[in-house]
Symmetry: C2
Subunit: 316 residues, 2 copies
């Protein structure tokens, strides 16, 4: 038990706290004043839920590093690399994720929400959880079967990231402050384009980022065969040789840095990398426009503008 | 999404509904009268949570059958048996379990509990979840490292089964009926010995049961190297040859029926099988005595007596 708590603490210490920040800003945007303690606790519950989601995602993707350290299933497996040790590492990580899910519920249940707040917030949390899991399911089905269906990649992006990382946390915070439907709609108008841009940046960082900044290997996404928007665009606009090479390289579990460099060359040659940069920029502008049109409090607008910039221009 | 719901429905159709039954009986035992709808919904939430737990347990144990059908990770993997298909099956099953967990929360949150009921029930549910996960963690750590520590196996049994399957469902139902501390204590006095007996019967069925009754292969527990009380007793009381053979056979993923028959012969020769039968009987009697001393309503006592008998004498 102590070992599990220790590993989870260590894991959570490395997070960027994006969802808690958006929850608190949603609360502030909707004019939250007197219930800061409740929103902070709910925000902590979101971060604990996110620990669950990442630990399980890493098991599903078979990733070796996260936040600059070995992933949880690798930690549990230790130095062994036989089948039994691998299975133990995977199992213990699934279980640690399950515990984090349980404890995120404990944090939610002890947040001190009034019954009005709870009846507004709890359905949003349940929706958020179902959405991110369905997004992950779509992602899982798409992984390893590369297609040039750019829209399909954007749908996964919307469920797995835009709604989960930005829209729902904003909604949840706003609901604690008693937000009406138009405030929630303004959260959505800002969150979805920004969230898509955030994931598109993540897709780029997964291939071009520096492990010293991102904490994860820039071979993982390519090895796992992630069907990102970047990959779909390259498949759509590449010639026959590009397509053939991409289908060989992306999803090869033994891909090395020279193979990854060839993939990067194809992303440049097909214009896919530039196209993703333009998509990020378009969405960033849409998000800022939605913010300007929103009924949010001025302090919240300033903070959200700042976050929109860092979320789309970041290198980590 | 439709596919996920369909598989989960199919999976849940095969369950024995043990935890829901104990929840409703706990409610009845504590004099529940007017809130049958709420306890039924909470009971459904427990069954949905149990689907989560079983789907994840099967992934961790690498089991092939459950409830007479292929386990969920096997269903998702389909006919393929390469690494990528295996990983997809495992990942999709982890995710389906996660969805069942989420949906068990939805059922709980829409059960229509009053705020008094919710504040009594929710902490019990959180405790139950943490307990079963810690029990599973202990089980995981013990699996593959056989010991003759009979007490350690009974500790896992208590957390993983006795508390999870019987004590907590009774508590949860009783709390909905507004049970006081002495009624909850009476639930514990009945539930722990009965739950231990239930698991000991399960351990025996895992080795001696008929797949047509139990729905699971009687090679799975042995192949997985489960350190049951039965195995611990045989290791404690066996001679050097018995111990040596047990350590070779239990935990061998390729164990066949003739190897299993040899293990059964050792369980008989060391007296382990008879000892487990006696332990079941002792605990069954303790449970009946606790029931006789309890403040439960007469109808509930009759129903619980009946369940105690079927839970310890069952063949499925």
């Amino acid at each position: 038990m102590a070992r599990l708590v220790e590993l989870l603490q260590e894991f959570m210490a490395g997070g960027k706290r994006i969802r808690p920040v958006f929850a608190v800003l949603g609360w502030q945007a909707a004019g939250g004043m007197s219930d800061m303690a409740a929103v902070i606790r709910v925000a902590a519950s979101l971060e604990m839920f996110h620990a669950f989601a990442l630990i399980h995602d890493d098991v599903m993707d078979g990733s070796d590093t996260r936040r600059g350290r070995p992933t949880m299933h690798r930690r549990f497996a230790g130095d062994g690399d036989d089948d039994r040790t691998e299975r133990y590492g995977m199992s213990a990580a699934v279980l640690l994720g399950d515990l984090a899910f349980t404890w995120s519920d404990c944090l939610l249940h002890t947040a001190g929400l009034t019954s009005e707040q709870a009846s507004a917030v709890v359905p949003l949390i349940n929706d958020m959880r179902t959405e991110v899991m369905l997004g992950q399911y779509l992602d899982l089905r798409a992984t390893g079967e590369l297609t040039d269906d750019v829209d399909a990649t954007l749908t996964v992006n919307r469920y797995k990231t835009a709604k989960y990382t930005i829209e729902r946390p904003l909604h949840i915070g706003a609901a604690i402050a008693g937000a009406d439907a138009s405030t929630l709609a303004a959260c959505t108008a800002f969150a979805l384009p920004l969230g898509e841009a955030f994931q598109l940046r993540d897709d780029l960082l997964g291939v071009y980022g520096d492990v010293r900044d991102t904490g994860k290997s820039r071979l993982d996404d390519l090895r796992a065969g992630k069907n990102t928007t970047l990959v779909a665009l390259a498949l759509r606009h590449g010639d026959a040789t590009h397509k053939d090479r991409l289908r060989t390289l992306v999803g090869d579990p033994a891909l090395d840095e020279s193979g990854a460099e060839e993939v990067r060359t194809i992303f440049a040659a097909t214009g896919a990398r530039d196209a993703v940069e333009r998509m990020i920029d378009d969405r960033y502008r849409l998000a800022l426009r939605a913010l300007a049109d929103s009924p949010f409090t001025p302090d919240a607008v300033t903070a959200l503008e700042h976050l929109a910039t860092t979320a789309t221009r970041r290198n980590a």
